[in-house]
Symmetry: C2
Subunit: 316 residues, 2 copies
């Protein structure tokens, strides 16, 4: 494996000159620049990233903590992050936790070992008290709002959006409204959904809430329960369009009509929702991911709220 010295020797110049052409510095004669470039091409030489990272004290690698790498919502954020990482010539390391708090801490310590320049947390397993100490070693950006001043946030105002969604359903004349969530009460957004529901409709009846919904098939199973209650809900607020699609499919399969027999409101404006004309509240997760990345490389601790918008289609 050739190194910069080999190139310098072969080209008859100093390592500095090689370094200069590598980094497009000025003050290199055209003549030498060409000579060096020729040797580089001949040897098919590429500088060693480790050496560069060591001297620069950065790796241009940023880590993204994600619970699952097969969830549409997280994929959208990741997508936004990848957009920006390409633009800024960073590479991103996906750090899947499956909500394992210990693993999350291990990932965070990659900041300390200088493997990562920053980490973005799309959804966390530890409490903030356990996370913030790591900000000593590099920026930590959250996709959820937190008051901790060490943490930059690119967040969705979920509570407000949930309240608006439930009000929308109420305005449309719905009294018996069910909803689905991803995680259970350990999750902030589940709690926010509950609180928003209470604000609009009062305490939800237990059988109007279905937890652990991530995919289309989870939605299908949720509908199998919800649509066979004697006091059937007249509307369902799903925690994603994929889940909503599963509900849709089951409702259709038992001969129900949407929205006549049951209204359906999804989230995140995912492709399948568009295909089935399901109304949805778009939290603009791609944009949230992009913003999170910008905060990360700027080492910013700003709290940026990403606006949501409701997309009206024919399911409510």
């Amino acid at each position: 494996m050739a190194n910069i010295h080999d190139i310098a020797k072969k080209a008859g110049v100093s390592v500095t000159t090689v370094s200069r052409v590598l980094n497009n510095h000025k003050y290199v004669s055209e003549e030498k620049r060409i000579a060096v470039q020729n040797v580089i091409d001949e040897f098919n030489y590429t500088p060693n990233r480790n050496a560069i990272d060591l001297i620069r004290g950065e790796t241009r690698q940023i880590g993204v903590i994600i619970p699952y790498n097969n969830n549409q919502a997280f994929d959208q954020m990741l997508h936004g992050i990848l957009n920006k990482s390409i633009e800024h010539e960073y590479s991103v390391i996906v750090l899947p936790t499956t909500y394992d708090a210990k693993k999350e801490l291990e990932y965070l310590s990659m900041l300390q070992t200088k493997m990562l320049d920053a980490v973005i947390i799309t959804s966390r397993s530890n409490n903030w008290e356990a996370i913030t100490p790591f900000t000593k070693y590099g920026p930590i950006i959250s996709c959820e709002y937190t008051d901790f001043s060490e943490i930059g946030c690119s967040y969705i105002d979920r509570y407000t959006s949930y309240v608006e969604a439930f009000y929308l359903l109420k305005e449309r004349g719905h009294e018996r409204v069910a909803f689905t969530t991803a995680r259970e009460m350990e999750s902030k957004s589940t709690i926010q959904t509950f609180t928003a529901y209470e604000e609009v409709f009062g305490k939800p009846s237990g059988d109007y809430v279905i937890f652990n919904c991530y995919s289309m098939q989870d939605g299908y199973r949720a509908a199998q329960k919800l649509l066979h209650i004697k006091e059937k809900p007249t509307a369902i607020y799903a925690n994603g369009d994929e889940v909503a699609a599963g509900i849709y499919q089951y409702a259709i399969s038992i001969g129900m009509h949407i929205p006549r027999d049951v209204a359906l409101l999804g989230q995140e404006n995912q492709p399948i929702g568009e295909a089935l004309a399901i109304s949805t509240v778009d939290h603009q997760l791609i944009q949230a991911g992009e913003q999170a990345f910008e905060l990360a490389i700027k080492k910013s601790k700003d709290k940026i709220k990403i606006p949501y918008q409701i997309i009206h289609r024919s399911s409510i």
Copy 2:
């Protein structure tokens, strides 16, 4: 940020001694070992990975080239890879290509820059001629069989499994058999499916083949076409259980019975297939991923065939 010198000074020993306790070398007196460890704990010190990687000439990072990070089949391989990476204390970098050949080449060059110790290709976009030159810089393992001797393989014997699957359907009395695939004819496994089909049934009629099926909704759409042909197929071989589930759902929704009206055979033994009792051919992708990882760290160029198995349930 403290470095090894700071620790050495504070503990009143040489950097060598610190390095020794860090790496659990023998020949360190218990006394000094404790002294050093105390300072390490006090400073919450962690060695800088870049420096270690530079000197060792390795990063203990292996890259996994994957077309999409939201596809069940690739997720299974990734899962297997992650299993082993944790066990061997490597970290894995997910490199999503969306089948962009240029991007794939960029990822491969991370071997050359020493960012990666090895790369595993779950599905490739470039031809092997373009890929093999990179083996100069580090091991490349493929999850698809190839004759190129520079490439280690942990592969599925897809052709044999496809032939067996189609024969199974034929034995059950099916003459009109349709199938779905992921990519089109640019993909080896699509070609293998065609060839296997031909061996058993002869050339497939054009409307019995549906390309670009990845998800449940793709299966749903495939069924919308397949089940409305005048000469309807009596059996469908789906390229995954998720796709099969979509077909299942549509068939049910138009009042068909499985397997009476249409038989269904899936692939990969995914959870949803189990839930719907869909027979499946399990290519044991998790095991394939585990094996690929082992080959990668052993720098082995072996060609290992992963056995498949057919799981009989009630859909055929």
